[in-house]
Point group: D2
Chain length 427, copies 4
């Protein structure tokens, strides 16, 4: 655990500069009648779940270079998230991935996490790998799909595994399950598109039937990988068709890296929100495909535009959906990578909150794209870091999470405790 006084001590060395900068930001905002405190409060309210599978070093099919000190158990993953949350104040939950996370005593794990201020966000099932616990001890294989499979026994096993994840989630206090399916084909003719879709729809209905009333189910679209010709839930259109076919609490999840080149993701966010089916996000960034890079590291303006759509959907506030990070931290310290992502999201949110919505509506009504651009860029070009730092401070977190994290020597300590060879489960 990271002691609060260590954070406070570090904050104290920065507090004067922070206050000075915050005053300037306040003044700047006041000129356009933006209430800095309202911005800070909304930013402070925001939280993004940490992915349990990205607390260790990620890899590609070509290799993996572990950093050491990675969490060896789900409890240690909770420890890492708690440490991160102590610094950011904005990672108050963890999203588990079964069977990589499969606690023997869920109640004990729940208590363990609660004591550390960490809740359980959406559960994630895994039918893209073969594991004895998901394949009826190897009786079936997911090589050719799970819910879309031509063999009913495979489909049944996949449904069972999802039920298991829901049951486990109930014990942990989760309220949602994310069903990401690797189902699809790598070659033309390998399967009938319609048959695959209909079987998948049927399977999702069976998973959904197991949901408690206060749970939601997320389908997550992705055009390719690990299949390279087609994917069953290939885009938001297919995801929405599935949600409509399944039931009211079936929602669509948007992973920023799961789109074809040049896709306008912010418009997709708007579409799904309009349809009442925007369930949540897997945040990351990418230049080429599902690169799973740090959120905001490649296209920060796109991230800002996405947060603008979220505020549009929430009528000025962030809507109550699932905000999760999904990155593959191949090169950086996973915790630093996740903290940079969290920071980038808070910055994008603060920028989006700075947009003068009345002026923007006027510019839109009068078809003045130059003015609309001035308004958006005006918000984006403003230095909102003091506002975000203040939101963190009010959440009893660090003014400079990465700086404090490094000063604390967290990774070194964990390598000492857990070993240089400790490798986390996950991708």
């Amino acid at each position: 655990m990271i002691p609060k006084d260590r954070i406070n001590a570090d904050n104290n060395t920065r507090i004067d500069t922070h206050k000075h900068d915050l005053d300037h930001a306040r003044e700047l905002l006041a000129r356009t009648n933006i209430d800095a405190d309202a911005v800070i409060i909304e930013v402070a309210r925001f939280s993004a779940a940490a992915p349990s599978w990205a607390l260790g070093t990620g890899g590609t099919r070509f290799g993996r270079f572990p950093i050491g000190g990675e969490p060896r158990t789900t409890e240690e993953k909770v420890d890492d998230v708690a440490a991160m949350n102590a610094l950011t104040g904005a990672n108050r939950s963890i999203s588990l991935h079964v069977p990589w996370d499969n606690p023997d005593d869920p109640a004990a794990l729940k208590q363990y996490a609660e004591e550390r201020g960490i809740a359980f966000d959406a559960m994630n099932s895994n039918t893209f790998q073969d594991n004895p616990s998901t394949t009826r001890d190897g009786a079936i294989s997911y090589k050719f799909g799970s819910l879309c499979h031509t063999d009913a026994a495979v489909r049944d096993a996949a449904v069972e595994h999802n039920h298991y994840c829901i049951d486990l989630g109930i014990k942990l206090g989760s309220k949602a399950i994310t069903v990401w399916l690797a189902d699809g084909t790598s070659f033309p003719g390998q399967a009938n598109f319609r048959g695959q879709f209909e079987r998948t729809l049927d399977g999702l209905r069976r998973v959904y039937a197991h949901l408690p009333d206060d749970w939601r189910m997320f389908t997550e679209h992705k055009p390719y990988e690990p299949q390279f010709y087609s994917s069953v839930v290939n885009d938001w259109g297919s995801s929405l068709m599935l949600a409509h076919g399944v039931g009211e609490r079936a929602m669509c999840l948007v992973d920023l890296g799961h789109h074809l080149p040049n896709a306008n993701i912010e418009q997709i966010v708007s579409r799904l929100a309009m349809a009442g089916r925007l369930g949540g996000f897997h945040f990351n960034d990418s230049k080429y495909g599902d690169d799973d890079l740090t959120t905001g590291s490649i296209k920060p303006y796109q991230l800002f535009l996405i947060f603008l759509e979220l505020l549009d959907a929430g009528e000025g506030r962030m809507p109550d959906i699932a905000y999760m990070i999904d990155q593959s931290n191949n090169l950086k310290d996973p915790l630093e990578d996740l903290m940079q992502a969290t920071d980038a999201m808070q910055i994008a949110l603060a920028q989006a909150l700075l947009v003068d919505q009345a002026a923007l509506a006027d510019a839109q009504q009068s078809n003045d794209p130059a003015l609309a651009q001035e308004i958006l860029q005006g918000a984006f070009r403003t230095d909102v870091r003091p506002l975000v730092a203040e939101a963190r401070r009010r959440n009893n977190a660090a003014l400079d999470p990465i700086g404090t994290y490094r000063a604390l020597g967290y990774r070194v300590e964990k390598i000492r405790q857990r070993g240089a060879e400790a490798v986390s489960t996950g991708l």
Copy 2:
């Protein structure tokens, strides 16, 4: 008009070789129990509408290089399509574009076309340009959209224009209207995505309300161009949402060039067919964007896979939807370009008909992608040209349309008649 005896004479010089090749194809098909005549009949049944706007030389924003002898009137466009159909036997209708085509006497035009064996396929409205007849004599402008516009007067004018097109189409015997909208934005913030979509949906409902009972309305998705940040009907998901919101006879039209890079178009065809909303096609080919190249000139295997999906939707036959060509014939003689497109479609259809569906279903059921590939490639690699030529011959058309067209000197004759400077309306 192209005299039938000229075609017959040209065919006679090729008929022996043709029969010999056809016999070989028959024998080849018989080995896998494919009935060559059933293939020929289905190919002969197929027809693709010619676009009135692509009978002249097309251009880009950088320039246009007319070929001469282009049709100066809608009647001359009908002449060109009739000439083409005489050669291909597979272009039995023309699709008009208003106000580029705006006959003073629709009844006379209808009779003119009927006498030449040409029917009127879907009408096309135009709200992406300003024309006195569509802008209430310049009172409004479509610069910032039509049905999506923030100004009700613009939306009203766009609805009126579509009504006009329907009324005209009724007189011509058309049964459908294609509403391609250039509506969208070129800059972030220029418009509210949801507002644009809702206004467009409302406008389409008003257009639809004007439809006769036996008509269909097509919405056509496109991700970008002429707007470069967002498009209201950006993808098949948005197109389907509009169709669902409008009514039962609102259908989605697929233009092969209107997709993001790497999109799996054949899967989109399957999705729309499954949803019961596949209304038709604008056929063309492309390497980069909406290049509007000759159908089948760049990705013939993709075309084959699309026809496979159509046969899947039609349970072994081509479903009764609208098949239209939409190309921009910048470099080739437009008629040659369209005939090459028609030939490519017939070839793709014949190849698709050769697929052993029972064997394919077995390979799919047993998850044997290598075998499924053998089956598809086996059909694709077969030389189906004799089957397509025979379908043409049975339609009283040319065995070798391009060869006969060139031998006839059609273009030279038209340049003589219409002038070297004759330029057709259109893009």
Copy 3:
């Protein structure tokens, strides 16, 4: 002409706030030992040439919606650039496009421009359209290419036209010619790749032979449009091969919109600079293809990274190459569009100048990507607008160019002077 006192008057209403914000920026920079004045001086030194062809409303193949009051002559184009430069202080030259600009009396035009403080940047030849002045009065056509053409007469005409542009440029004081070629193919097999390349290389050598010693020649790569299968100068690799084959002062020009999806443009900038052949830029922005949107309106972080590479090439200062804007201002007032572009470039430059190069080099040396990201994002997230405004102020320009431009009613005045129907030459 925009009177200086009008600008000063407008500045005076903003000066107090500006100075206050500038002081804060100064203080912020001082913390990391960045000299604000050095940044301001380098920003103030920067100038981007305005494209004569983008001073009117641009269009697509689907249509064009002119704004009115567009410059009718090259002199009026100079007027517009002078007005813009009065506001930005950073558009001190104009780049002409022949034959759209083809002055009868070049010496008079030169004097006219000098009196308004405007110089002549690179000349642009046009062999992608047919014009009597470039086609030997229609004796040849560029339909199938210019320098790459199979017909020597076409190649000769294209060379002649480029010589003409050079001769004209000499009289105007220009020092470079940009040879953008639309040459390529739209269909596989249309031409032999190697033959086209070799003929183009030969033609460029002939153009180059006509260059004065203090001139440079730019080749500009583009993968597609207006040809849709291949382009002769398709990418930087081909452009560099041509430059190497032509001579020392043959340089490569980078248009930001002329790349395949997902291309890393900043790396291409680095490669060309490393090869000693980076000649200049056509600045714009895009989401899909050669969208020609306002620079910085879609991917501002990419623009920042490009300026970082330029500073790397210039060892901390902007290298002495050609900085030109190339946009298609379809929806905005062209002057506002160009001023927003200029502002975005200055902002990106200021941000790039804020990067702590020593700290970055350390992070790179020690393979610390998280720290490198902190350094880059720290610069990018800083509000540099006061620094840019100060650079403008020192150039006797406007603190808020768009605001002052609108307050001045420039466009309304020009519509009154030039007419609502005045349409500029260009794309």
Copy 4:
């Protein structure tokens, strides 16, 4: 080993049909004065090296589903290639990957392979993973690159490893080394582009210095993966710069999957051939990225166009460069996948040989793209399978490799011999 009499017996069941079809093909070709035997001879001459790393089941970062019976040693890999070559007659060599293949007794391995008719194609070094044999027993790591690394010790180790591969290759009779580098960055600012390039160039020179006189070195460009922001050898332009900087026998290798979306790969082939630096290929196919699917399974027309360029470079024959397959056989039996690839290449070659080059040159000279397309499509649409089968027959291989392979029960036998759990080294 697959006994020749088994193949002959299987061929005998097909020989009559084959001869009949071949006669028809001969007759068809004779009409356009194409000599069928010349085609067959050139197809029979062609051979593609099998990749040792793709003889087992491939995987993605999400998982791997082994097929069983995979080769456990390099000798067993040679066995598999020999079996495949017995069926195709067109896979006469294997390309090894060190340290996945690292024979204790190279001379013995060489003899083993020779006895089975298999030669050793290009050696492949591996500096994208950490292995004790390549990292000086873990003293260094390739996490942040190899030849581009900031640490000289890492660069030295990478050079040493490449020297080792060359030395090993010399003993095996190989004549080339392929240096595929995973070097690059995943985040802006992580490294200096120019620094990385210069260090890589220096390293390649040191590798090259170790080459025997009759060896060639291949650099292989790839835009991304496993790095997701930039790659040192990102495209053919960078690869060519490296080749020019290194020496005459430094050549560029084209992997079909290593390009940005929509790239015109056949033009790149032409460019490298024109520069005299086309060293060879890694054949595969893809729809999205480096999907490593079966060659010809997605874009067979592109494959045909590439072979057309090869014949252009070889003046009618296939040039003497390295033809290698590089696929990731995730779903299919690896040997079936590789045989389908080999078949697809032979088909594309035969189609390319059918192009009437004189007629094509005429169409190009007269700028007749419609006719050029007729010529290319005429060749592509011809059923060349009898010609390819005859080429196989003359090489004493199978008329129907997949059919015979399945009839032989090779995989079942290998699972019995090697075990269902046998997993091959590789990706």
